[in-house]
């Protein structure tokens, strides 16, 4: 085990992930501009299920937005929060399973 090499690839990988996070607002804007629809939504439209969708739990940051923040900033905050939380949870889970 070489901790120096681990730190090196970790740093590069995290920089790459940070680049993805910074790009998130631009992609969010662009997909909105073309009228975002996924195949599941198309299937729901085709079978009359579209109105059946409900939100039991809208979440703390519903649909990757932050109450009171404009969409690009809300998307950026959501990307930072979600990515950091996922990193922490997966690392924590990994550490627990090492025991």
């Amino acid at each position: 085990m070489n901790t120096v090499s681990t730190a090196s690839w970790m740093r590069r990988a995290l920089l790459f992930v940070l680049a993805l996070v910074i790009l998130a607002p631009a992609f969010g804007w662009a997909s909105g501009a073309v009228g975002y629809a996924e195949p599941l939504e198309n299937a729901a439209e085709a079978t009359g299920a579209a109105d059946a969708a409900s939100a039991i739990n809208p979440g703390l940051l519903p649909d990757y937005s932050v109450l009171g923040l404009a969409p690009p900033l809300g998307t950026l905050v959501s990307a930072v929060v979600g990515t950091s939380l996922t990193l922490a949870v997966a690392l924590g889970l990994g550490r627990l399973l090492e025991l």
């Binding site: 070489n2 970790m10 992930v17 399973l97």
Partner: protein, 218 residues
């Protein structure tokens, strides 16, 4: 791909919870002892990277958009059991914190994206890598997301909200995601190619003993 609440009948949602619960439980047991100093950070970084990549909706003129799902990528890079754990973290956080995918439907989303996408992707990669490794990563990304879409199409198609129209939901899901899956395959292949060149020892899914790579430094 994320199923909201209200789309699945309770028995379908329950079956998905059962299936994903069993497989995730097995993954937790198999992952114990497989995690080491390099693998635990890798698990965290891959999960975080997939969360961030899923936020990038690629706009496609004509009114659709696709985002990278990443289950096949996780399976290839981490091996199937750690791959399941990484995707479980991503999909659960998306549902709980961002309301992306339902709570009752979480079992279905876990089954599609954290189980089927990972195992099918890993299986396709292992079956085809002898022909062309980067090509195998493409096939894995494309094929796995298409099969995952089939599973979601079956789940909603067997539910009353979709009027039990399996014959409508399955073709829409499979054809739609087979086309969008070309992007999934391309991203899987591109990132796999980069990692396999730069740090082949980190690609745990390449090794024949399922998930274990030798611990290697530089």
């Amino acid at each position: 791909m994320h199923i909201p609440d209200g789309f699945l009948d309770l028995w379908v949602a329950g079956a998905f919870w059962l299936g994903s619960g069993v497989i995730i439980g097995i993954a937790v047991r198999r992952a114990k002892g497989e995690l080491g100093n390099e693998r635990t950070p890798l698990l965290g970084v891959v999960a975080a990277g997939i969360f961030a990549a899923q936020m990038l909706n690629w706009p496609i003129p004509g009114g659709t958009s696709a985002h990278f799902v990443g289950g096949a990528f996780a399976g290839i890079l981490l091996g199937p059991y750690l791959g399941v754990l990484a995707m479980t973290a991503v999909v659960t956080i998306q549902a709980l914190v961002f309301g992306d995918g339902g709570i009752v439907a979480l079992g279905g989303n876990l089954f599609a994206m954290a189980v089927v996408d990972v195992f099918v992707g890993y299986g396709l990669f292992r079956a085809s890598r002898r022909f062309h490794e980067t090509g195998a990563a493409f096939v894995a990304g494309w094929g796995a997301i298409t099969v995952s879409a089939l599973v979601v199409g079956l789940g909603v198609g067997l539910s009353s909200a979709f009027a039990y129209e399996v014959g409508v939901t399955v073709p829409i899901m499979v054809v739609g995601h087979a086309l969008l899956g070309l992007i999934e395959g391309a991203i899987t292949a591109a990132v796999y190619g980069y990692v396999a060149d730069a740090r082949p020892d980190l690609v745990l899914g390449r090794f024949s003993d399922d998930a274990l790579a030798p611990e290697v430094g530089l």
